[in-house]
């Protein structure tokens, strides 16, 4: 019983540790003082500044383009690779599996660095396009792993039964694979979207002039700009995150 109390207290302390910085940010986003330690009264001025900053909204647009394109492409590629990795165990698939697994564990800075040198070596100009190529590369592994996990409890007897009953390949894809794999596809896509929206380092290495994404914009604001605007921005972020988490939870509970 004493042990249970101990692990309970540690859990509460860890949760407080996790939420402390976030609470500080939210409170400070309404603090009219520039300094986080002084309460200068309640105000919305950082939100007003945020909405009048055109650089921020340009970078939001870039972020959404990058996330949208790289999520869709990596979902297609990741579904294919998840499927073949699960069904076939040939030598090529083993190599394929290694190629999928390594990007999951290497530090981002290595992938960013190698892509930068790759683009320099091929004399490809850095732009939003090179950012998208980088994002697809790291999203692909995450989508594959998620789809693969979902396939573990996929019953291939259904496919064989359908074939025996004369279903065409198109029918099998539309009526068996897609509906049964949809939850795996959605969670893989959500993961890719989250990672793409959040990525700083790989974008930092592969972005050219004018292709600043929101994380890059946030970085330069922290380094050179007006930090309180970031508090306002992150509070908005948090709100959106909560909404997405809520929707995600709904989808999850409905499935189970």
């Amino acid at each position: 019983m004493k042990k249970n109390k101990f692990i309970f207290i540690v859990t509460i302390l860890v949760l407080m540790f996790f939420y402390l910085p976030i609470i500080v940010l939210v409170v400070n986003s309404f603090n009219s003082s520039r300094f986080g330690s002084v309460w200068g009264g309640f105000s919305f001025k950082w939100y007003e500044k945020l909405f009048s900053d055109r650089n921020i909204w340009q970078s939001v647009k870039n972020t959404l383009i990058v996330a949208g394109v790289s999520t869709s492409v990596s979902m297609v590629l990741g579904t294919l690779s998840g499927y073949v990795l699960f069904r076939y165990k040939t030598g090529i698939q083993k190599a394929h599996n290694v190629l999928i697994t390594i990007p999951l564990i290497i530090p981002d800075i290595l992938m960013g660095m190698s892509l930068l040198l790759f683009f320099i070596a091929l004399k490809i100009k850095l732009s939003l396009f090179t950012v998208v190529l980088g994002h697809i590369t790291f999203c692909l592994s995450y989508v594959t792993v998620t789809v693969l996990a979902r396939l573990q409890d996929f019953d291939f007897n259904i496919v064989e039964a359908a074939q025996d009953l004369g279903a065409s390949a198109g029918d099998i894809l539309k009526k068996i694979y897609l509906p049964l794999l949809a939850p795996g596809l959605i969670s893989g896509g959500m993961l890719a979207l989250t990672l793409s929206l959040d990525d700083f380092i790989i974008t930092f290495f592969t972005a050219g002039p004018g292709s600043s994404t929101l994380p890059l914009q946030i970085y330069s604001m922290i380094k050179f700009g007006t930090p309180p605007v970031i508090n306002a921005l992150s509070t908005l972020f948090l709100l959106i995150t909560f909404l997405i988490a809520l929707i995600y939870q709904r989808i999850n509970t409905r499935r189970t």
């Binding site: 692990i7 981002d108 291939f156 970085y219 995150t241």
Partner: protein, 292 residues
Amino acid sequence: MNFKRANVLKLTIPSFLWLIIFFLIPTVIVVVISFRNADVSGGIGAGWSLHGFSDIMSVSFLVILWRTVKLSLITTIFCLVIGMPVAIYMAKADEKIQNLLLLLIVIPFWTNFLIRVYAWKVILHPEGLLKKLFFIAGMIPENGTLLYNESSVLLVLVYTYLPFAILPLYTAIEKFDFKLIEAARDLGSGPVYSFFRVFLPGISQGIISAVMVVFIPALGSYVIPDMVGGPGGEMLGNKIAQRVFIDRNLPKGSALATLLILAVILPGIIRVFMKRTNFKTVLFRQKKSGAV
């Protein structure tokens, strides 16, 4: 049986080729460029040399390298020690509380990574709340600072990687059969003995995954030491970025990245090896149930 070889190939090629082009070849390029000469204009010069690796011999770099390994190791240990009780609590709780805790742990990490690091900068700031508390408690002098040293980097590293340690530990503990501990205790082993000889070996897979997902990314940290580290908290990642973006010496940056690749590849190979054995057991189970 359902698809002919050509069809399998058609399905394999897109992702396989993508990873060859955008992952394998670029990584090889990094290693190759580290042996090239630098070009004054910031590009890659002609000829081959070991000049790129000259950084590695300097004392100032060895200090950074040692700090990188040390901080990553301490971060991993902290994450395991703090994460373990949380994971145990979660695994033993009711399913509803389990789901709630999972969500509570994940949500803060859905906010932008940079923003979270920035929040710590605000908290640790010389004008910030924590500094005042520490000063009142007499723990630091008035002109002392909590920011820009190894401890501030360590704190934010632990903050960032702790959930990545908790999740695999939780998954492993949830599958662990606690009756084994009862059995060990009935057979006369003490609580410490049964923890180290029954519980920890039983969740070794989770511990290994936790070490992998904390230690390796921590080795390549860039943003955290960059924002809360200052000159006294620089790590390998900062040195790579500095060589690439400030000195514009690509071979030197590549040489440091090659060093990081070597550091990562070793445990990486072990991991892939284990994944494959995992795969085999899955396949075996499938075969037994007649699915494949």
